[in-house]
Subunit: 337 residues, 2 copies
């Protein structure tokens, strides 16, 4: 028991063949009660642990997946990741981090892991497909996309109905009597940006309000960009009485900007966000927002991937999870005008 025991050692000590030991450990075949007892004793005695690399080589699977995200340190991604991890562990997979930092080289590097056998499947929370080596249009490995659709590829997706959710957020504002409702949109290129903007517009139109072009300001999902966008919006001749931001960070930036201009929240300005990151509830005032089921999205994505990994076609190409409008104190009835 000096150097790490291998299956041969266990088998020798138990007086059986390696095949029998393997069958027991992998539950891949019959083993008599007697043999089982002897092997179990030998396992104890040797302190044996399976070499999972050898197993992987033989089985041609790594039982690991990789998750590519732009930035794990952002709450949204970290929360989804937790859901993935939780579910992965339950079905016997390990998860590798692929922090892409929006760098294509990095993405390609991580995609390589799929080709080299370090990972069996991929979850993309990235918005775009990495380049897979030079291997032309060979069959792609199992991939599931979370949240942000990737263009130009038809991959199973787990996300939310961004259009509907955004419309819901704006309807909340409308119900509070607001009419001049602005929107702080995300990065222009993004598909989520387009969807949330579409929901915003649709809700306004449904209320017979024509969405003015200048009511939309673009940011990049960061707090600072939200502040900048709000600055532009509040400088309008007829400033909005409410803002729907495409995510919580920008909503918070907007609120900071409003405060710095001496406005009171929510009386002077109502703000709704999107995500419900942990911090949203702790801001002053607590942010009304659309809660995305991060954890469940991650878990669902892993479930879909697991099906793919088992060789089953995914149940549905698009799995949209329900969101929830969470009303806190950043929104209120329109009073003065």
């Amino acid at each position: 028991m000096d150097k790490r025991a291998k299956m041969t050692d266990v088998a020798a000590l138990a007086g059986v063949s390696v095949a029998t030991v393997s069958r027991l450990l992998a539950a891949s075949g019959p083993v008599s009660a007697k043999a089982r007892r002897r092997i179990e004793k030998a396992l104890q005695a040797t302190g044996y642990t399976l070499n999972s690399v050898a197993r992987s080589l033989r089985r041609r699977e790594s039982r690991a997946i990789i998750v590519i995200v732009p930035d794990i340190s952002q709450a949204f991604f970290a929360l989804v990741l937790r859901g993935i991890e939780e579910r992965a562990i339950a079905v016997g997979y390990s998860v590798l981090i692929g922090n892409s930092a929006d760098d294509r080289k990095r993405e390609a590097l991580y995609a390589e892991h799929l080709m080299t056998g370090r990972a069996d499947g991929l979850i993309l929370i990235n918005g775009r497909l990495p380049r897979f080596g030079v291997s032309g249009k060979a069959a792609l490995p199992p991939i599931v996309v979370v949240s942000e659709r990737v263009r130009g590829a038809s991959l199973p997706l787990v996300g939310v109905d961004n259009v509907g959710a955004s419309a819901m957020a704006v309807r909340h504002l409308l119900e509070q009597g607001h009419r001049r409702i602005a929107h702080i949109a995300g990065s222009p290129g993004n598909t989520m940006t387009a969807e949330r903007r579409a929901g915003y517009r649709r809700a306004l139109r449904d209320a017979n309000i024509v969405p003015m072009r200048e009511w939309i300001a673009y940011g990049d999902f960061s707090v600072e960009s939200g502040a900048r966008a709000a600055h532009a919006l509040l400088a309008l001749p007829e400033p909005p009485t409410a803002i729907f931001a495409a995510n919580d960070d920008m909503a918070i930036g907007a609120m900071n900007m409003a405060k710095s201009r001496g406005m009171r929240l929510p009386s002077d300005l109502s703000v709704v966000g999107f995500d419900d990151v942990p911090f949203a509830a702790s801001y002053d005032p607590p942010l009304s927002t659309i809660r995305q089921p991060f954890f469940e999205m991650g878990a669902a994505a892993m479930d879909v991937l697991h099906k793919l990994l088992k060789g089953q076609a995914p149940g549905s190409e698009r799995l949209l999870l329900p969101v929830q409008l969470t009303v806190r104190q950043s929104t209120s009835r329109l009073t003065s005008e």
Copy 2:
């Protein structure tokens, strides 16, 4: 190029032996220019990708590490993780997530990965050592600890000087004229809690202030616990004029509580946090806090681990990175009393 090519195929196509191909790919021996050319052409033609599982088996190393954290979705851990990941990728390692959820079973499961060869080393941001199988006191695998010391084991650590940093935070408050300075401490069991509390006490004593027992309230590092602690503190007959919280989340909870009691910040109460999580700067008022070099801590931890992995003893057992007092608007001179 139908099924995945292996080295044998490349070698055959290039008219050389697998050994030569291997030498080229691993840069492990001489290869003539001519052979190199032919092999490179064959690599192209076959679309070859290395099977890293086979390589791992042969080399007896996985080139992966695992990071055990209580909760990746907490900013602190996510940020350190980014540093780890960044450095790991640079030195050719993959990183496996081990979200322990403070569950010993989980920790043990992840520790198993080290024994089964899925990972070569471990970074612990967890505060305690997992149980490694039944293998008694066999040699531990390479382990580096980040931030929170683990008791009962002498492992290389990368962190900050919590005592000194806390004293610095409190000194800042003292310099602003505050005398009745309270402390919201973390979870009682924790070593960080003890260290930061010690720094708090030391700074007070150095200023010839005797730290009153009732000035310390305990939380659990969460926003809510910070609010509860502040509630108790502010209900004191002689309430503090300033609070030093052991982390930003609790500081924010405390500020929320103060506001809800109608206090103005920072004029009625100064608050200093610890960490400088991304959100600290976006709160109202922006939080004065001790900035921990998260990213650098992660990167440094990976560096130390890498040394261990290469068989070198770690340079120093305790690597303490410098923190920075970041003064924002949650602290101000004591005016009224």
